[in-house]
Subunit: 234 residues, 2 copies
DNA sequence: TGATGAGCTCTTGTATACCAGACGGAGCAC
DNA sequence: GTGCTCCGTCTGGTATACAAGAGCTCATCA
């Protein structure tokens, strides 16, 4: 745990934010492995900042469920809990389905039309880069909730998606998954535009469920490889 | 903003927690009024602790939506936003209704029976103290969600309830409201036990809506009085 | 040999010193 | 009188010093 500090990333107005982003990056890339123990001083030294911004970043990550502090003992990366992820997926479905329900009342479908320009396109116009697809996918699901018009629900949905990010970002690494996503998103949007909300909800639910199962598998294999990698280093 | 420090409260293992609880108490009692500006040094001096635990407490309150920081300028108590509260109420209803749905599948009704011992009682056995009723009411709604068996949903529900606490705690100050609560809770539980979930959901929704409207009214008048009080002090 | 306790070293928790930036007011130019 | 500029004095952001508890090591003693 005493290698050189990795790259900074994203825009950050202060060191606390920067440290937060860098730590999260390390968590997501399994440089910090679930179950690992570490101290504030270690992080501070590696990131070349003082403990103050490190503590602020860690408290944020603790709230988001990634790490936990044991008073006067140290910090631990929380182990991945797939039961928890399943529960979060259920909430996701609930929020997105409910937003579709609200949609038909408010006829707030300008968002929907914008989403269609991204997803209802010819196969050879599709994005193929995994990260780009992932970002568009995030926008799709966030867009559905936003179209529901409840800002607090959007906030909570974003929070849930954030907690799922560590495993969800592994989706879209296979071309087959990318194509399936395009087709399923297009089908959902089409049903919405036709006003067939129940059918859209049904499709949405099975779309999310399929993604959940896929991501579960990929995560386990990635984690296994990361552990191998780390062991090789010693 | 330079009066003597008020009472400490609740159990707190460290000064950051204690400061957090005391600040929240001041927010809830409108000692810190929505819209007020203040600095970390002011709070630190009043609470007789250093800025470190004050900052930690303020960041927690910021996450919860009560205050906000303007970098290198100062802190502000966020004004009450009733649109936001309405949105949170909608989410509450969604979560609690959805938990009832799950209840019938899992047949996890041991929680429900426990709730019935509190709420399905004779009128002269009812609690009348406002704070006690409020606590029981919190347990009732949290209990419904917990019975759904999704721990993450419980966490989010608790978070939503926490954000509503500043206005919800003002309910139950009228005997009439307490009686209505008892009757409505009992009716909901009865429908659940009979397995009539849809009817229970309908009752639950209108129960929460009624409470929302009541609380809205009470909050506005309390806020008005708090402002008068504060002006008299100068 | 095993239990025990002193003490050392690590941790987080807290206080404090210092920094850069924002803001407001005094004073000057017009 | 009006507007501009400079400077002092606030602010939160950060680094660092210090306090106190947890846990481990190792020596000591039964």
């Amino acid at each position: 745990m005493n290698k050189k500090a990795p790259i900074p990333l994203d825009i950050a107005s202060n060191r606390a934010d920067e440290t937060y982003l860098r730590l999260k990056d390390e968590l997501f890339n399994f440089y910090l492995l679930p179950g690992d123990y570490f101290s504030e001083n270690e992080i501070a030294a590696r990131m070349e900042v003082s403990r103050t911004p490190v503590r602020e970043a860690l408290f944020r990550l603790q709230r988001e469920g990634y790490v936990r502090v044991m008073p006067r003992v140290g910090w631990q990366v929380r182990p991945l809990d797939f039961d928890k992820f399943d529960q979060l997926y259920e909430i996701r479905i609930l929020l997105e389905e409910s937003s579709l329900q609200r949609l038909v009342r408010k006829e707030n479908i300008s968002n929907i039309k914008m989403l269609m320009t991204t997803w209802c396109c010819l196969p050879d116009e599709r994005e193929s880069d995994a990260k780009a697809v992932w970002l568009q996918d995030e926008q799709f699901h966030a867009g559905l909730v936003e179209a529901g018009g409840n800002a607090e629900m959007s906030r909570i949905h974003q929070d849930v998606m954030e907690r799922l990010r560590i495993i969800r970002r592994l989706d879209f690494t296979k071309a087959q998954r990318v194509n399936a996503t395009y087709e399923e998103h297009a089908a959902i949007l089409e049903q919405i535009q036709r006003g067939r909300i129940s059918e859209a909800q049904r499709l949405l639910r099975s779309h999310i469920e399929a993604s959940r199962l896929e991501v579960h598998k990929i995560t386990l294999s990635m984690l296994y490889e990361a552990r191998l990698e780390k062991n090789r280093a010693y």
